[in-house]
Amino acid sequence: MSVTSRRRFAAVALASVAVLAAATACGDSDSSSGSDGGKVTLVVDVFGDQGFGYEELYKQYQSEHPNVTIQERGKGLGLGDYNTRLTQQITAGAGAGDVVALEEGTIVQFFAQADKFVNLADHGANDLKSNFLPWKWEGGLTPDGKVLGLGTDVGGMAVCYRSDLFKAAGLPTDREQVGALWPTWDEFIAQGQKFAAADKKHKFVDSATNFYNIVLMQKAGAGTGYTYFDKSNKLTVGENPDVRSAFELTTKMTAAGLSNNLKSFSNEWNAGFKNGSFATIGCPAWMTGVIKGQAGDAAAGKWDVAKAPGNGGNWGGSWLAVPKSSKHQKEAAELAKFLTSAKSQTEAFKKVGNLPSSPQALEDPAVLAATNEYFSGAPIGKIFAAGAKELKPVYLGPKNQAVRDAVENALRSVEQGKAADAAWQDAVKNGEAAGK
């Protein structure tokens, strides 16, 4: 090897080191947002199989603001994965979108990092207070009163059911009559037993966990106003009577053999929709989009929506927030305000069925008169909007998801044959470990 070629090798080696160094330095040239001569690119982070139904709204916003280009990420991403990624991005202070969606169960977790988010009050959000249901507005405020997020949708609560299976089992199929079948959850279970006696092939409910969540949110809304953590973030999984009674009602339902034992959002659960293996599912407004997406066209017209047992309730719903890592905070805040306006919420409702959190949108004829062809023409706007306004908020603690997983696991172990009492012990023990 001659000296010159040796030198060349050294040069190549040095160059490769330089490239590596440059590659590692690339971390701070944020790909999520860049501006180019007045042009602004805003990245919106959402989650869920159906996304948030904003596609048309982006087009409208871009045509009204020619300097803005909007990119959306996250459609198809599950909430758990989305939240893990977002937590890391927020903690690292880089990589998050300019506008990010925060879900009901996870927004409290970000209160502790409120200094990493733009206080939307600085961008005139306080003037918009009346655009949101009071409890939804408060849900987006940090304990010291900063506006962390603006409400997108609320869950509302209903029961979706397969009218063809109801008919075959000799139950009424009309949604008014079906709603009248179950004034209480105990009645719901009794009807389920009737269904089970007539139909051995299908199960009445998809899973214990979905049933449990919808019951818990309703009971907590009417009772303590919190679930696994009280409002001072003290762990109350073992003490909260609402958790206990929702758990017991669920194990009673499981013991009656009504559950199809399908883990929520799993492949088996998705297959359950396609195969039509269960007759009812606890149904917040966003669930209608899930059903339509999973059951597909083959089941169009077989599903219907009826009032849920008990008195209303809420499960789910999100807020839009602007992380401080955004390079265009002002533009991002404007976009968040636009996407959460009453008109935009109505648009999103039409697209994916997410129930508006704005009282104006809830009274919008387009929402009130909305029917869903897929759900046999059910007046979903009316069904879900009923009671949404009077709801009391349910406080979910910062580690809500972890404790919820532990309690859901205990409920699943009952489906797999464990005794209900032992499972409750597990729920408390593992819930306390998870919420530590």
Binding site: L14, S264, E268, D426
Partner: protein, 328 residues
């Protein structure tokens, strides 16, 4: 720099005559020597730079974070000393459940895996029809992605419409809920691991078998040794170093088992590995603590204990290896 002139670099190779430098011979020689001295370091630098960033720094940081209560939920980080480790060892049944699961699945998958690989390699080492096809075929699973393997197997082991339960039904056995029963889930996950890795190990054994001298087999055959006898008395002893290598590789892989059990369930809460943690491994628990419970400090402690576990099992392997090789 004076030492440069007196001590020759040890790595300097003997070189033939080269054209004399035309300008300033002194300077040229100095540059040349510098070049000889520095170039090797420049060559190895990229690795060490990357290793420092992605290896050393995270390790040191893990030690630090394990002694804090760091969490995205805490505004400040406070030093808690060995509290995390005390909790881990005295008051965390879920962690020890994960340890049992990890070792259980490791034994349940590795032992059959290596045995089958050995028998497969032995079969492929003979003259058979379509030798090349079969040798390629056993290597196929290695190039498939773990996620795809896990996805397909979780369908095969599905409770409602799974292939295995359908076959069991054909022979009159009731369906098994593969995710509810601890040993059933271990078995299912072990078959995933084995499907993917048997071929890999078989290839390694096959390569080693082909380097065994044919003379030994011929001599044994002349002495009247059966094929079986040849396998146990010639092939296996000759393969010892290879077997130890595969054992160590399987140990490291087995103790870090993650994708297969994670993908075995889908939907929310997959990290909990079954309703009662039937198949939650240590790495799954680690992520559960970090991403669901937001206890980053505690997760650091879990990571360090996992490190110690792997190191001690590897040490055990090493001692075993040394003993076997000194037996020879």
């Amino acid at each position: 720099m004076s030492s440069l002139k007196t001590t020759a670099p040890p790595a300097a190779p003997a070189r033939g005559p080269r054209p004399a430098p035309r300008h300033s011979p002194q300077r040229g020689r100095l540059l040349n020597r510098l070049d000889l001295r520095l170039t090797p370091y420049v060559f190895v630098l990229p690795f060490f730079v990357l290793f420092a960033i992605f290896g050393v720094y995270p390790i040191i940081y893990t030690f630090w974070i394990a002694m804090t209560d760091r969490s995205p939920l805490n505004a400040t980080i406070s030093f808690v000393g060995v509290d995390n480790f005390v909790e881990l060892f005295t008051n965390d049944p879920q962690f020890w459940n994960a340890v049992v699961n990890t070792f259980g699945m490791f034994l349940m998958s590795t032992i059959p895996q290596l045995l089958i690989a050995l028998l497969l390699a032995n079969a492929l080492n003979r003259r058979i029809r379509g030798q090349m096809f079969f040798r390629l075929a056993i290597a196929m699973p290695i190039i498939t992605s773990t996620a795809v393997v896990a996805l397909i197997f979780s369908m095969i082991y599905a409770r409602e419409f799974g292939l295995v339960n359908w076959l069991l039904d054909l022979v009159g056995v009731g369906p098994i809920d593969w995710r509810a029963n601890r040993f059933a889930s271990w078995f299912a996950i072990s078959t995933m691991v084995d499907w993917r890795w048997v071929g890999y190990n078989a290839l390694i054994y096959l390569a080693a078998m082909q380097s065994i001298s044919k003379d030994m087999y011929e001599a044994a055959a002349l002495d009247g040794a059966s094929r079986r006898r040849q396998f146990w008395s010639i092939t296996i002893p000759q393969l010892r170093p290879t077997i130890i290598f595969t054992l160590i590789i399987s140990t490291i892989g087995g103790l870090q088992l993650f994708t297969e059990p994670l993908m075995f369930t889908s939907g929310s809460g997959a990290l909990s590995g079954g309703s009662e943690g039937q198949f939650q491994t240590i790495t799954m628990y680690l992520l559960d603590v970090m991403n669901q419970r937001f206890r980053w400090g505690y997760a650091g402690a879990v990571a360090l204990v996992l490190f110690v576990l792997i190191a001690s099992v590897s040490l055990l392997n090493y001692l075993l290896a040394r003993r076997i090789s000194s037996d020879k």
